[in-house]
């Protein structure tokens, strides 16, 4: 039984490292870590759909970007009231998922991919064209960090914002882990494996998928909120196919349904994008090449070979 303590020790060690890193890194790298954590949440949320439900969404930026716009708009133009703005933005991101889910879940496979893509591009078009509300192509710069002074927190320094993001990242990991271990999570994987069998067994397949779609949207919305406050700005690209494709690549690169995989994928892609963008404008080309390489060399993702061992702790 001693072996079962290993993951707990590893998790604690990982958390300790994440807690200490800001003390030893320059603020530039702390900022990079914030981006890693945000995309970690975003990738985990997509993996609930891709890894556990088998639903390949190519429009997951819709909830992410919508929440970012709502949080940004309210903070900039109405009031920097963090609890209200967080709640409103989460609601908006969840509502987008609730509406898109109704339309997209009528289809499967490549059609699901196409319709999620098309729907999210509609939002991108809206953000692009509706200049008076969204600032159009330029987006909305100058969005202040959330004001949590009533809790005695000043999130303006990057280190504070890092710990704030880390706390939410840990919360998301815990919630996601609880969810995938639950009867509901088991049912999602049954549906991924065979919808017709699950229907025959007595499961309302659609209801499970729809609830999962909304939950994934809510977690993506949280990532979007953290993202807009970190960058102090939001622009149409946060709703764009490129963002959806990037998070999809993170999940596939790390390994779908492996929990740690999407987080690893997010880390690698964020770091790589950062390094590469220092000396070339052709980030998209590189992203495409990675995509092809992963599909050819490691179709099950970097953690694919560890699946058997991870299965002991991570339902997949």
């Amino acid at each position: 039984m001693r072996r079962s303590f290993l993951p707990i020790i590893l998790v604690i060690a990982g958390l300790a490292i994440l807690a200490i890193l800001p003390k030893v890194l320059t603020s530039y790298y702390v900022g990079l870590l914030v981006t890693v954590l945000i995309f970690g949440i975003f990738a985990l949320s997509l993996d609930l759909l891709l890894g556990h439900c088998g639903l390949p969404s190519l429009g997951h930026a819709a909830s992410f970007g919508t929440a970012a716009y709502v949080a940004g708009f309210l903070s900039l133009k109405i009031a920097n009231n963090a609890p209200v703005n967080f709640a409103a933005a989460l609601f908006a991101g969840g509502a987008v998922a609730a509406i898109f889910g109704l339309l997209a879940l009528r289809t499967r496979g490549i059609y699901f991919l196409m319709i999620t893509l098309a729907l999210s591009q509609v939002l991108w078009g809206l953000a692009f064209k509706w200049k008076s509300a969204t600032g159009g192509d330029d987006g909305m710069p100058g969005i202040p960090r959330p004001n949590l002074s009533m809790l005695g927190l000043d999130l303006t320094p990057v280190n504070s914002y890092y710990y704030f993001t880390l706390a939410l990242f840990v919360l998301v990991c815990i919630l996601m882990y609880i969810l995938i271990r639950s009867p509901f999570g088991h049912s999602l994987r049954g549906i991924r494996e065979s919808e017709s069998r699950m229907l025959a067994l007595g499961y309302n397949v659609w209801a499970h998928q729809y609830v999962a779609f909304i939950i994934a949207g809510l977690f993506a919305a949280l990532a979007g909120i953290l993202y807009v406050y970190y960058n102090n700005m939001v622009s149409p690209k946060d709703l764009h196919l490129i963002t959806s494709a990037k998070v999809l690549l993170m999940v596939i690169l790390g390994g779908t349904g492996t929990f740690l995989g999407p987080i690893l994928g997010a880390t690698l892609i964020v770091l790589l994008e950062n390094i590469v963008s220092g000396f070339t404008e052709r980030w998209l080309l590189i992203l495409g090449i990675i995509y092809v390489l992963v599909i050819m060399l490691a179709p099950k993702g970097l953690l694919g070979p560890l699946r058997g061992r991870l299965r002991r702790w991570i339902p997949m």
Partner: protein, 251 residues
């Protein structure tokens, strides 16, 4: 017996796929506890008939009642909730999950807690105990941790039946449970089926005549989408029309 409380009552059901008339005016009523076999050549519409009963497809016309309730256009999961379970002619399992998890999903299907998102699945001890009991009973006990896609075809075929039994059905539809099995495996599955308690009503599609005629109280013969004959195994065996379509095969 009053046909309104019959486990299954099918009334004048037809199904066409575009121009193809797969079923035409089929009637069939099962008594509680009955074992009924459906036989008929390939393409006769037997599997389509199962799809209509279980709700995978809806009929072009006609009515289907389960336990006295009209279910003609109800989704499959509602029919399962009434006590219907089925197996598939082509294995329809959860290939990347373990045998235990496959059965657990079956046992859990009609539990109210299946929507729970908070407690771990493993904390529902009674579900696991029931699943383990079933594996013990049907000879899968040592394969609980095996991933289903790594099971032999014969074991997968058996699991196909165990999954349906785990639902504790009142009416069980079996679509060629011995299909593709060796004679030895066929014997195992047949023994398994003849052990089923009598409170389960069984409708069995079977291409193996020996299995069909030994297992069934009554036999229905499908031919080109219609019921060609129905009766006791003896009556069906002696029916000239049946002998004609099975010309050459031992009946």
């Amino acid at each position: 017996m009053d046909s309104n409380v019959a486990p299954l009552h099918v009334e004048n059901v037809s199904k066409n796929f575009g121009g193809l008339q797969a079923l035409l005016g089929v009637n069939l009523t099962l008594q509680e506890g009955e074992r009924r076999a459906i036989i008929g050549p390939n393409g006769a519409g037997k599997t389509t008939f199962f799809h209509l009963i279980s709700g995978v497809l809806t009929p072009s016309s006609g009515h289907i009642h389960l336990f006295g309730q009209e279910v003609t256009s109800k989704p499959p999961y509602r029919r399962a909730a009434l006590g219907l379970a089925r197996t598939f002619q082509i294995n329809n399992l959860f290939p990347n999950l373990s045998v235990l998890d496959n059965i657990v999903l079956s046992v859990q299907a009609l539990e109210k807690t299946k929507f729970s998102m908070f407690k771990p699945m493993t904390s529902y001890r009674h579900v696991y105990l029931r699943a383990e009991e079933l594996m013990e009973q049907w000879g899968l006990a040592d394969k609980g941790n095996t991933t289903v896609r790594n099971l032999s075809y014969g074991d997968q075929r058996e699991l196909e039946v165990v999954m349906a039994l785990a639902q504790e059905p009142k009416l069980l539809l079996l679509d060629e449970p011995t299909g593709g099995l060796s004679p030895a495996e066929t014997a195992t599955v047949t023994a398994m089926l003849s052990q089923l308690p009598r409170h389960i009503t069984v409708l069995l599609i079977e291409h193996d005549m020996d299995v069909a005629f030994t297992m069934a109280d009554r036999v229905t013969v499908f031919y080109m989408g219609e019921v060609l004959a129905e009766g006791t195994p003896q009556e069906v065996r002696e029916n000239p029309k049946v002998q004609e379509i099975y010309l050459g095969s031992p009946i």
